[in-house]
Amino acid sequence: MILSTLQASEVAGLYSTAEMANLALRLGLSGITLASGVGKLVDPEGSSQAIGDFGLPSRWVGFFAIALPLAECLAGLALLSDATSPSASLALAAMFCAFGVGIANLLRQDKAPPCNCFGAIHSEPVSKFTLLRVTVLAALALVCYNLPVFPLVRGWAGFAILVPTYLLAGLGVKKWARKKLKDKTYRRLGVGQRIPSVRLRNGSWLQNALPDAKKSLLFLTAPDCCPCAQLKGTFSQWAPLLGEHLPVVELVALVKDQELNPIDGITSYGIDRNSFRRFLCPTPGAILVDRNGTILEPPVSGAEQIEALIRLSLRADESASEGNFS
């Protein structure tokens, strides 16, 4: 019904170029936000990681990982309805601006985590191009707001047709996003990303439990991992010596009733196995982080690499110039 009305009107020359531009922008922006929203909903872990990478405190990450893609989907739907199109354009412009500020903030800190712009569908490291893209999208949303509204979906009858059509399109995008997620190769956390926003067994957020030191080492272990047990023995010898220059925090992946078996002289925290998987690092593993939980070096696995990482970290640390490690 909508299409036939559109075709008839075009033929009759009823609409101005500005109205046609409004239509094109609404359809385009709606498509982009639908893909972006559904892509993020299909990969909630990736979305949580990205929200954390953008610097949000851990307690807000879970909420925004759901709320942001839902808001994108709703904005995309509202953009197609004539009545809500102007306010949706404005909301979308604000959303893109906020995203742009987040990107600029990351670039200022020389960080380039995955932008997760389209969730499972497409994600690339944050760059000046990403900033340019969201700036252009924000500008287009503002242009759309200022253009006369093209009569696309009017009244409740039009809305009643729009909603199922939009949902159907959403399902198509979901199928596509699922396929993309399946094809995704092994991912791992990179330099500049934040450690996953996960709760410890004691209920506090890992990010808040990090030592107030320039850098610290997250030592990832599991009770049923033999190399971990071997390395824990070595760590108990190193711990008092490392403590001064490189605080170590042990994260142990535990199943329901498993007890924490801490290393002497090292802060140990138990963590749920599902949350532990979000570190994407085989055990025994280690991640060098700053006091905010930003990853400073690529995560490593195995005793040999962990020792090399500690050695490099201590060597690089200027404050350890009076420190004493071989």
């Binding site: 008092p240 010596l241 690529p298 490593v300 040999e304 090399a308 490099l312 004493n324 490690f325």
Partner: protein
């Protein structure tokens, strides 16, 4: 292709020239010529985005790591392979400095601060003699390490320090002198290498500690430790 030898063991690295400074910083002398014999260790470094992958022969050893970390892994493997291959000498974990044609040994395990203490010590009249390992020959003399080929002559040790670094510990007392028996027992825990290494280490250690003063104790920061040592 970057090649070097350590105690006559050939190591070949196929990879970016940027790895060279890391290898040289560890004391290895790089050669330009192609190795005539099959390398004991052959590494290949491949770029992977902004980072690198390390292969030993064709086995992937490190994935998506910085060149600094990959170099550190290579260096660690070279040390490991050399001490397992050369059974005619004993490898003790530690550093040695040369002073008045005598060796001063700082023996200790990883992350116990021996390198830093040796560095601080050599800033005076002493010079670096051996890094990572203190190598003993049959005569009980210490040999320089790393070196391209196995040296024939070494230095007798005048002093050995078995000091354990402890943060914020600044004992004003100099480390205590210990008997050769206690010293030997401690040094045996620092022997690295093949299964028979301990057995062959015992006579060498016995010769090495003859007439040598051995000091053991806990030390604080390097400068404070040096002050204590100087009072000996």
């Amino acid at each position: 292709m970057i090649t070097f030898t350590c105690y006559d063991c050939v190591v070949a690295i196929e990879g970016p020239p940027a790895v060279t400074p890391y290898i040289e910083a560890a004391g290895f002398e790089l050669g330009n010529e192609k190795p005539t014999e099959k390398p004991l260790l052959a590494f290949r470094i491949e770029q992977n985005g902004n980072n690198y992958n390390l292969y030993q022969e064709d086995t992937l050893s490190c994935q998506n790591q910085t060149l600094a970390l990959i170099s550190e892994v290579i260096i660690s493997r070279v040390h490991g392979a050399v001490c397992f291959t050369r059974s005619e000498v004993t490898f003790l974990r530690g550093d040695v400095v040369k002073e008045s044609n005598l060796a001063c040994v700082f023996a200790g395990d990883s992350f116990t601060g021996q390198t830093r203490l040796a560095q601080a010590y050599r800033s005076g009249s002493a010079s670096t003699y051996s890094q990572h390992f203190a190598v003993l020959n049959d005569a009980g003399e210490f040999l320089p390490y790393p070196a391209a080929s196995l040296p024939s002559d070494g230095l007798k040790a005048s002093k050995m320090f078995l000091l354990q670094y402890h943060p914020q510990s600044t004992p004003d007392l100099p480390p205590a002198s210990v008997s050769s028996g206690v010293g030997s027992l401690h040094l045996l825990t620092l022997v690295r290498g093949h299964e028979e290494a301990i057995q062959s280490a015992m006579p060498r250690l016995a010769r090495a500690i003859q007439g040598t003063e051995i000091y053991k104790g806990i030390r604080g920061e390097a400068k404070a430790a040096l002050r204590s040592i100087s009072r000996i």
